[in-house]
């Protein structure tokens, strides 16, 4: 008998990020993959879920360069954020590092990377980000 899986919460997602893993919930009943994980399948409402690891490789679906940033990100501005469509078809937004502003384009190949340092401030999650493949 295997151990009970971690709860299907955002906090569990970020605990996996601290282990450098991109994890999602998969519905055992209808096969829907939930990213972010949710405690109930939003397609068929089943609660029979399992964790699966996703391949963190995909293409840039859209992007923006943030110049006017909120207080806690002001020191980083201007910075690039985008929405990445992973190979599985699921999408994840995040910061894109290691690309010059002039080189950023829709459709470029990106892969996930992890910054596992955590601040002491709530919610004290680590961060993932994307970089060129």
């Amino acid at each position: 008998m295997s151990e009970k899986p971690p709860p299907f919460t955002v906090s569990s997602f970020y605990k996996f990020v601290s282990e450098k893993k991109l994890m999602a919930a998969k519905c055992d009943k209808c096969g829907t993959i939930l990213l972010p994980p949710k405690p109930m399948c939003t397609k068929c409402l089943s609660t029979n879920l399992e964790w699966i690891e996703l391949e963190g490789v995909g293409k840039l679906l859209s992007y923006t360069i943030i110049y006017v940033a909120p207080v806690q990100f002001q020191s980083l501005a201007p910075y690039i954020v985008g929405i990445v469509e992973l190979k599985s078809g699921l999408r994840l937004p995040g910061m894109i590092r290691g690309v010059e502003q002039e080189e950023i384009r829709v459709g470029m190949d990106l892969k996930i990377d992890f910054d596992t340092s955590v601040s002491s401030q709530w919610p004290a999650w680590p961060r993932y980000f994307f970089r060129p493949l």
Partner: protein, 390 residues
């Protein structure tokens, strides 16, 4: 067949929009209510008004929550039931719908719906942070994505998929700024040019300063009655004949498409169906131009043109005053201003003026049917209402 009235608007009020130093939500809201009462001498507010539903987005701005009863108190409406409705930038559009539900339920016959926000006493960085609270914390806010950033992601996708240009977005700003110069209560009274808009500083590429709505203080309200009572208070009520509301994922990234707001499409379809009307029947509309790209996407979501043609619609002048379907004659969020909680009923206020021939220099001649389109966040909430004159 045109739908029958759900409720009637018998009066409306709007505070000055702009930087209202030294005033806070309670005083600003009281200013809007005062106008609505003064314009409706047959109404005895204390005796006739039964409840208040007020849109207000953020406690953070004033460190003040529990705004329902606070606003009711300053408007002289205690001890009537008062509820604050929060649906981000759609707060008062949804307060309007809540007021309609209250009347349709039979529990109330006359209510005030409205909204208020006080924003300008905060720094731009603080406002950016407070507005971002209406986006997804773990996957958007946590990664530094701002509100302009979310609409910029939609803009980049729209440009990539349909060839929409930054110039077309600037044309939305030019149009709405022009309309704002005709509205004495608008925050900005300034004509701009496409060149000036294009040269303004970048907020979240491709969106520049003139693509963004304004940080504004203001309040708005409507007095709604059961349709059978409207004539007791005014000879020229405006009837609400369609109301639609829908929800979507809080995260933009979870949506099937980045170039349309599903909730707005669904809310629009529900409102059109209830009203028994089609997009071609509209004479005027106030739509949620929190960013210029949002107005272009709204044209498409509301069926004013097909998907991808929103940029051309503004380019061809179809949506300017004097065009086929004038959009945002008030100046919109872009120029009239966007005190977020007040916006939904401020849109309804403009439609009320238009359908009662009170919109002065910006009057759309002979307007009989109007629409308002109010969006919360990046589209997780949308409320659409359709109005007709008596």
């Amino acid at each position: 067949m045109v739908g029958k009235p759900l409720v009637s608007i018998v009066s409306a009020g709007l505070s000055k929009f702009g930087r209202l130093d030294g005033m806070y939500c309670r005083e600003i809201f009281a200013e809007a209510v005062k106008e609505a009462f003064e314009k409706c001498p047959n109404l005895d507010p204390v005796k006739d008004i039964e409840a208040l539903f007020v849109g207000h987005m953020g406690e953070a701005y004033e460190h003040q929550g529990h705004t329902g009863p606070t606003l009711a108190d300053w408007a002289g409406m205690l001890p009537k039931p008062a509820v604050r409705i929060e649906s981000a930038c759609a707060s008062s559009g949804i307060a309007l719908r809540t007021g309609i539900l209250a009347i349709l339920s039979g529990l109330h016959k006359i209510v005030i719906v409205g909204g208020v926000e006080k924003m300008t006493h905060r720094t731009t960085a603080e406002v950016t942070e407070f507005l971002a609270m209406a986006s997804d914390l773990p996957f958007e806010q946590w990664h530094g994505i701002t509100f302009p950033g979310l609409y910029a992601l939609m803009a980049t996708a729209h440009m990539h998929e349909y060839g929409t240009t930054e110039e077309q977005m600037a044309q939305v700003a030019v149009k709405n700024h022009h309309n704002g110069t005709l509205n004495p209560k608008a925050h900005m009274q300034k004509e701009i040019t496409v060149e000036k808009a294009m040269a303004s500083k970048v907020v979240a590429w491709p969106l520049k300063l003139y693509d963004c709505s304004l940080i504004t203080d203001g309040a708005s309200c409507l007095i709604l009655t059961h349709p059978d009572l409207a004539k007791k208070f005014t000879d020229s009520p405006v009837h609400i004949i369609g109301s639609g509301q829908a929800s979507d994922t809080i995260g933009l990234y979870e949506r099937e498409k980045l170039t349309t707001l599903r909730a707005a499409r669904l809310a629009g379809q529900e409102a059109y169906k209830m009203a028994g009307l089609e997009p071609k029947d509209l004479d005027v509309a106030e739509i949620h131009d929190c960013f210029t790209i949002a107005e272009i996407i709204a044209y498409e979501d509301l069926g004013l043109c097909s998907s991808g043609k929103g940029g051309s619609l503004v380019e061809e002048g179809t949506t300017e005053l004097g065009g086929n379907i004038p959009i945002n004659p008030s100046g919109g969020l872009k120029s009239k201003g966007h005190p977020v909680g007040a916006t939904g009923t401020a849109q309804a206020y403009e439609i009320y003026l238009q359908l009662t021939e009170q919109a002065e220099e910006r009057q759309v001649k002979g307007a009989e049917i109007g629409l308002s389109h109010n969006v919360g966040g990046s589209g997780a909430t949308a409320g659409v209402h359709i109005y007709r004159r008596e």
